[in-house]
């Protein structure tokens, strides 16, 4: 269906377009030179590619556990079925339909599930297929996997790469996710690892070795995305040293593609100083300094906002701690041979100093890291806050006045624990377009997403904001309102939402990565896998992998041998 979007003020930083008035043409779902067809009048209005959410818990066992244990959340945000929409429910754990409709209303057209154990990937794909409109994918968990730890212990990176390729194919996953490596395995007997140098009981390997091994395997396979890490000691005062030391481990790894070699998930939760919750403070400056002086790492904020959330992570010991600290209901789920996880409802309070500092740290990180290509805007939905609150985070980044107004309502000790009050930087539309469109697509290795160059997917968001006339710093309330309900959201050349109303709910596609490895490495690997299924798994090997039926509409990204290596191992700095 042909379409021309006329006269918009376009922000497409990946193609060097920073607020130019231009027309955009879409045909058969892709951006093309020019076309006729339906005209959309966007004169003077803000136009950006469809939003890309690189780290969000949108599908799978943890999300559904959150729904089942929280009817109190499901009854919020309930909307009856109407027009093309099926009913919506939930605030922090929306049902599948609300997930698709609400992302579309925000102008987002792509979202990635942040953590899927291979053994339970079938469940994740059943839910991904049920989420309408947005394209999606799922990161696959490897950090506490017995086969991974054994390959790392034996220092056999080629066999590890073969396993990662096999794991991604079995889970129809997109990238390598590492959560509290070693800690999930220790939690199998109720323990945890104290740091990334602590030995994993029963496996004679350290988290540092696991992280480094997976990073090397990831680059050996030339996967589109780098390793995606949730540090050890996440959520603990004083954990910023673990973050810095872990990043330092990976400085020398050669990237297999022109991108970072490590992406840090929800950096906020790992930028903590102090020795306990009493002297808890922000270490965002030290973390930001590292990102400003190195180019092998990127991060996403994991911004926390006040009010209700549902924490859910593969870091099960962290969630047990959350439950005991807050006296909240607690779900835990260990996954044999692979991972652990936990889900705990949470409320963040303005008047609690710890929550106020956590709120400040997220913003501090984004504002202190100079290069917006290194920092993605996320709330680690729904751990920090539900994604429907993204406009709140964006306007906080764009308006110091708003930050000050908000800080005035918080705990009065806040200025002693964070530098946020003195930060003047106010982001502009280019930086926001990078942090919510161009950078997530590049960091994930999605070449068709996050930009509006010819050939890109026809995913566009148009907002009733006139970037030339509106001062986002002053009129932040107006900006927030406009961002909360896109004037138009176009997905693959189809107008899916207009002024907050869902007009169409097409089926989105699921991305997954098929990496090929040398047969010799695969053949060395398989006997070890067959042995584990014979002895340890509770299912048969032949029933393990996700079948084609669970991906009704998919996009396969090739990797490994079927992709020639990046010509010169240039780091991000040279590319930016």
């Amino acid at each position: 269906m042909k379409m021309i979007i006329k006269g918009g003020i376009v922000y497409d930083p990946a193609n060097g377009i920073f607020g130019e008035e231009m027309d955009l043409c879409i045909d058969q779902g892709r951006v093309i030179e020019q076309a006729g067809g339906e005209v959309i009048d966007a004169r003077g209005l803000l136009v950006m590619p469809g939003g890309v959410d690189a780290h969000s818990h949108i599908a799978g066992k943890k999300v559904n556990t959150g729904r089942i244990m929280r009817p109190d959340d499901s009854r919020l945000g309930t909307e009856p079925r109407s027009g093309v929409c099926r009913p919506s429910t939930g605030y922090t754990v929306p049902n599948c339909y609300a997930m698709g409709y609400r992302y579309a209303r925000l102008g987002y057209t792509t979202a990635f599930e942040a953590a899927t154990p291979i053994l339970e990937a079938r469940h994740t794909h059943e839910e991904l297929a049920e989420i309408p409109i947005i394209d999606k994918g799922a990161l696959t968990l490897f950090g506490n996997n017995w086969q991974v730890m054994e390959c790392v212990r034996d220092k056999d990176i080629p066999k590890l790469a073969a396993y990662v390729a096999w794991g991604l194919r079995s889970a129809r996953g997109y990238g390598v996710k590492i959560v509290n490596p070693g800690g999930g395995e220790a939690w199998g007997f109720g323990a945890n690892v104290k740091s990334h140098r602590d030995n994993v009981p029963g496996f004679d390997v350290t988290p540092a070795e696991i992280i480094r091994g997976l990073a090397e395997a990831n680059e050996m396979l030339r996967l589109p995305h780098s390793i995606h890490i949730h540090f050890n000691n996440l959520g603990k005062p004083g954990n910023y040293t673990t973050a810095l030391e872990t990043l330092e481990l990976l400085k020398d790894i050669k990237p297999g593609r022109m991108r970072q070699v490590v992406h840090v998930a929800h950096m906020q939760f790992s930028a903590y100083g102090g020795t306990s919750w009493r002297d808890f403070e922000s270490k965002a400056p030290a973390i930001a300094d590292y990102f400003n002086t190195h180019s092998h790492a990127t991060m996403d904020m994991g911004q926390l906002l006040f009010g209700s959330a549902t924490t859910m992570t593969a870091d099960a010991p962290l969630e047990y701690g959350n439950a005991r600290l807050t006296h909240n209901k607690w779900s835990n789920h260990d996954i044999e041979l692979e991972e652990s996880s936990g889900v705990v409802p949470m409320i963040y309070f303005r008047k609690m100093l710890v929550n106020a500092v956590q709120w400040a740290i997220g913003l501090e990180l984004a504002l202190l890291v100079r290069d917006p290509w290194k920092t993605l805007m996320t709330t680690d939905h729904p751990n920090g806050s539900p994604f429907v609150n993204y406009p709140e985070v964006i306007t906080l980044l764009m308006s110091r006045a708003k930050r000050e107004a908000e800080m005035a309502t918080l705990h009065e000790q806040l200025p002693n624990r964070t530098t946020l009050p003195v930060i003047e930087r106010e982001m502009d539309w280019t930086e926001i377009a990078i942090m919510t469109r161009a950078a997530p697509a590049r960091i994930l290795g999605l070449t068709d997403k996050g930009h509006l160059g010819v050939g890109a997917d026809g995913d566009v968001s148009i907002y009733s904001i006139r970037p030339e006339d509106v001062d986002a710093a002053r009129d932040h309330a107006l900006v927030k309102k406009a961002l909360s309900s896109a004037l138009y959201t176009i997905k693959g050349g189809v107008v899916v939402a207009k002024e907050g109303r869902i007009l169409a709910a097409p089926e989105g596609r699921t991305y997954w990565v098929d990496a090929t490895v040398p047969d010799a490495d695969h053949d060395r690997l398989m006997p070890e896998i067959e042995d584990k299924f014979a002895k340890y798994y509770s299912v048969q090997l032949s029933n393990y992998a996700v079948q084609d039926a669970y991906l009704p509409s998919s996009r396969v990204i090739r990797a490994g041998l079927s992709v020639e290596p990046a010509k010169s191992a240039r780091t991000l700095a040279e590319v930016a």
Partner: protein, 438 residues
């Protein structure tokens, strides 16, 4: 005899164990032999005599009809109803369950699963406290102490002990049964209790008090406890508390003994807290022994589609959840439903008599491969192919793990999913005709 085909590693679709190492020999389009399955599984897979043709009740008597007539009549009944109940779902595939949710939305009905007469109270307990659990393989590889509370796997989940619990062997449990302490807490000495190392008999309906006593003993506050609680001696409970705290990895499996008794969901609520308390001393997990093979899947599908795992009322266009008000037994018991679609279930047998009797006063549509008492009260009967034997699909094990059901043999009958899709089609046609006045 044409040569037979051996289907390996098929998934058994009887109970919540969802054993996936079943070998099925098929010849001449028929299942000849089943290997590795227990008595329950092989009886399911071998099958029984089937209903073959749809039936519609005319002048009080069920008479043969065509599939199209049955679909049309079912659609008419559901469209005419002000609050139809769509009940069952636990013994069919997730794919059929998804269509069931869509049907509930289309007709403004209440969709509920057999969980409401099984582990429904466990769900309400989880809504109070969460579920500190694990996959069955984690228990197999690590558990050295296992408690079976109010459940009798020897008769209800025969291969549970070998594949996942008491007798299973794993990386840290090479000795299998010999390396484990097995405890049974029940009101009667079941066959499972006879195999246990320790059997604690308690009085019926006293689970809550006994768990509270155990929580006090585990927390070292046992001095408050009187000498017997719920028919159990304090000394026995104290010994049990110490045994649980001494475990390296403990697992509690609980069944209908505590969901069907006095206290209902409070019993599970308390058991979940007991396991949470035990995690301050050692590693402990808890898991409901789900009965039907895909009652877990029905809960997962309903949760991601409607936000709630059972008893979902779509009458006002949006999901509303409140067991005690929107559960099947409440609606029937209060005559607050005026039509029922029963899929892969037999409420006339499994509901209390008075609740089942309510079905005789309203039009009932049954989709099932087998004749059963619900058929006797049905007005439209639609025979179907058997999910997991004649139709492939997805099912969720008692620990929430999704597995792919195989199609072992063909069937001339439509599957549940297809039947419900046809009924939805008829509903949309009837609605258009009514609105269009054409």
């Amino acid at each position: 005899m044409t040569e037979s085909v051996m289907i390996k590693d098929a998934v058994c679709s009887f109970c919540g164990c969802l054993c996936d190492d079943i070998n099925v020999e098929v010849a001449e389009g028929k299942i000849q032999r089943v290997r590795h399955a227990c008595r329950l599984g092989s009886s399911k897979i071998m099958g029984h005599s089937r209903m073959q043709t749809p039936m519609i009740r005319k002048d009080g008597v069920l008479q043969p009809a065509s599939f199209d007539e049955a679909y049309r009549r079912a659609a008419e009944i559901l469209l005419a109803a002000k609050k139809p109940l769509l009940y069952g779902w636990a013994s069919t595939s997730c794919e059929a369950q998804k269509k069931g949710v869509l049907l509930a939305e289309e007709v403004g009905g209440v969709i509920d699963t057999t969980a409401t007469v099984c582990h429904g109270p466990s769900v309400i307990g989880i809504e109070e406290k969460g579920l500190p659990g694990a996959t069955l393989g984690q228990v197999k590889n690590r558990a050295d102490t296992i408690v079976f509370w109010g459940c009798n796997p020897v008769e209800a989940h025969p291969r549970h002990s070998l594949r996942y619990s008491s007798n299973s062997c794993g990386r840290f449990t090479e000795q299998g049964r010999a390396g484990r302490k097995i405890v049974v807490v029940d009101v009667r000495e079941t066959r499972t209790a006879k195999n246990a190392d320790k059997f604690v008999r308690i009085d019926p309906g006293c689970d809550y008090e006994v768990i509270s006593a155990l929580r006090m003993l585990v927390a070292g506050k046992g001095d408050v406890i009187v000498d017997t609680v719920g028919g159990a001696l304090k000394a026995d409970l104290a010994a049990l508390a110490e045994m649980l705290k001494a475990a390296r990895f403990g697992a509690v499996f609980f069944g209908l003994g505590i969901t069907h008794s006095k206290g209902r969901y409070k019993n599970i609520d308390n058991a979940l807290s007991l396991v949470a308390d035990l995690n301050q001393h050692t590693k402990f997990v808890i898991m409901p022994m789900r009965g039907h093979y895909n009652v877990g899947g029905a809960g997962q599908v309903l949760a991601w589609s409607s936000g709630y795992p059972m008893s979902v009322d779509y009458a006002r266009g949006a999901p509303y959840f409140n067991p005690g008000e929107t559960a099947a037994c409440d609606l029937l018991g209060r005559a607050d439903t005026d039509a029922a679609l029963i899929v892969a279930a037999d409420p006339v047998s499994n509901f209390p008599r008075e609740t089942a009797a309510a079905l005789s006063k309203i039009p009932v549509i049954q989709i099932d491969p087998y004749e059963n008492p619900t058929t006797l009260l049905s007005d439209v009967v639609i025979p179907c192919a058997i999910a997991g034997v004649e139709v492939e699909g997805t099912a969720y094990r008692m620990d929430g793990l999704a597995l792919r059901l195989r199609k072992m043999v063909d069937s001339s009958l439509p599957g549940d999913e297809q039947i419900i899709a046809e009924i939805i089609k008829n509903i949309r046609e009837l609605r258009q005709k009514a609105e269009g006045g054409a």
